[in-house]
């Protein structure tokens, strides 16, 4: 059989000529249009991913709308208001003269938060305060999905319009990360709609475990503190007020407690979730120094300032997790790590703080699904 077919390919045979012609044409086409062909193939791949993000965005909007109707029970259609909220934006302050920018940022964040909360309250009149916080977080996750979709679509269309391989390749290289973030926000949205704890809440969970059953008082906006005695040391445990989705104002809380104690605080221990590097184990615990708190930087600035003013050492305990784990329902490994951290804090206090000392333990993170 091989011999018969092989005869067709003999030197000067018809099939041989045709194949040679095809190869020559293919060579010339790839020589002149190789880049365009590569661009088209890459665009097609991006298009598939973009379609997935669009589906996630639409599903996110649908889940948000459904939850608002179910919990908020508005007597009107909240869809137009929700759609306008998904386009909500904030213009950050000018940073040409950075002096005082932190306070401008804080003011802006407060205004944004208040306005956003009002808008959510309008479309969810029957929601309780804690449900309102969850809805707020949920709409923010839907907003993030909408933004991811719009920005990706922008660069996709720009690449398609200009057929610039460099724009297209940059987008393609970013696509795995973009997909990871979009999936994480989708999971976060579902967690917020149900009120389940998320990975970022592990700091708040540690604080809640450390002062479980104690009397809590409000020390700053959406932030509470409890006084606990651990081996003859006074420990102020600070966390955002749960179980609604909330990060509170840990900076203001620490500031107030230090002022109340007249600056006589032996140490500040901050517990937070930290982004792990690839290869690191989820839920592994690491200790260090500094203010362990994420976000835009306002709260960290306040803590660093007050710690410097009174020369208070700031210690940090972090629980390692991925970005997608931080905003998805809390994994078992992370929930188990909270118990280890509680023990680590107790050991730290016993070994490094003298009896009679005052310590502030701040559990940083979103306290959704975590009471006190």
């Amino acid at each position: 059989m091989f011999d018969r077919v092989g005869q067709l390919f003999q030197q000067g045979g018809l099939l041989n000529t045709i194949i040679q012609l095809i190869f020559t044409i293919a060579f010339i086409v790839f020589l002149f249009y190789g880049q365009q062909i590569q661009s088209l193939m890459t665009l097609r791949k991006i298009e598939v991913s973009l379609e997935k993000i669009r589906r996630m965005r639409d599903e996110g909007r649908a889940v948000a709308l459904e939850t608002i109707k179910e919990i908020g029970k508005p007597d009107f259609d909240p869809a137009p208001k929700l759609d306008s909220l998904l386009e909500y934006f904030m213009i950050t302050p000018v940073d040409l003269d950075p002096s005082g920018i932190v306070w401008k940022l804080e003011h802006l964040m407060n205004v944004r938060e208040e306005r956003f909360r009002q808008e959510i309250r309008e479309i969810s009149p029957k929601a309780s305060e804690s449900e309102l916080h969850n809805l707020e977080n949920m709409v923010e996750a839907a907003m993030a999905l909408n933004t991811i979709y719009k920005i990706t679509r922008h660069y996709y269309l720009l690449g398609k319009k200009t057929m610039s391989l460099y724009i297209i390749l940059q987008l393609q290289m970013m696509m795995p990360m973009i997909m990871k973030y979009a999936t994480a926000y989708m999971n976060a949205l579902k967690a917020f709609s149900n009120g389940a704890p998320i990975g970022d809440g592990v700091g708040a969970l540690v604080a809640a475990k450390l002062a479980n059953g104690q009397r809590w008082r409000r020390v700053a906006k959406d932030t509470i503190a409890a006084k606990v005695d651990i081996d003859g040391r006074t420990v102020y445990v600070v966390k955002a007020e749960g179980p609604g989705g909330n990060v509170g104002k840990p900076g203001d809380a620490v500031l107030r407690i230090i002022e109340e104690e007249g600056g006589r605080v032996s140490t500040i221990i901050m517990v937070d979730a930290a982004l792990k590097l690839e290869g690191e184990e989820t839920g592994s615990v690491a200790e260090g120094v500094g203010a362990a708190i994420g976000g835009i930087g306002v709260e960290r600035y306040k803590i660093e300032e007050i710690a410097l003013k009174y020369k208070i050492p700031t210690n940090a305990i972090v629980i390692k997790e991925d970005i997608s784990e931080a905003i998805s329902p809390m994994k078992e490994e992370i929930a188990n790590a909270a118990d280890k951290v509680v023990e680590a804090i107790k050991n730290f206090i016993k070994n490094r703080v003298e009896e009679g000392g005052v310590i502030i333990v701040t559990g940083v993170g979103n306290t959704i699904g975590i009471g006190q």
């Binding site: 149900n194 704890p197 994994k331 929930a335």
Partner: protein
Amino acid sequence: MFGPVMAGQSPLNLNMLLMGLLMAALLFFLFRMFMPPSKPQEPEVVTVLECAKCRLKEIRMFKRGDYVFKEDGPCKRCGGPMVITKIFARPRGKVRL
């Protein structure tokens, strides 16, 4: 490796085999590109409850309104308060505690 199979065959036959393999690889690549990928399974979120008196542990699926340290009904064994001690996500189908 292909010595016994290809013995006595013209080199052109080998070319043909190679082209066939290339075509198959191209078809496979196109098929993969246009096929929707399989969707990873979403994890399940569970709630762990513990009796404050007798330490009886119970695990059930998470439901809206659950939160850590919430009291959720009396204990089946001693009638004490059942408190939610943990809420976490785990891979679907994992053996229950």
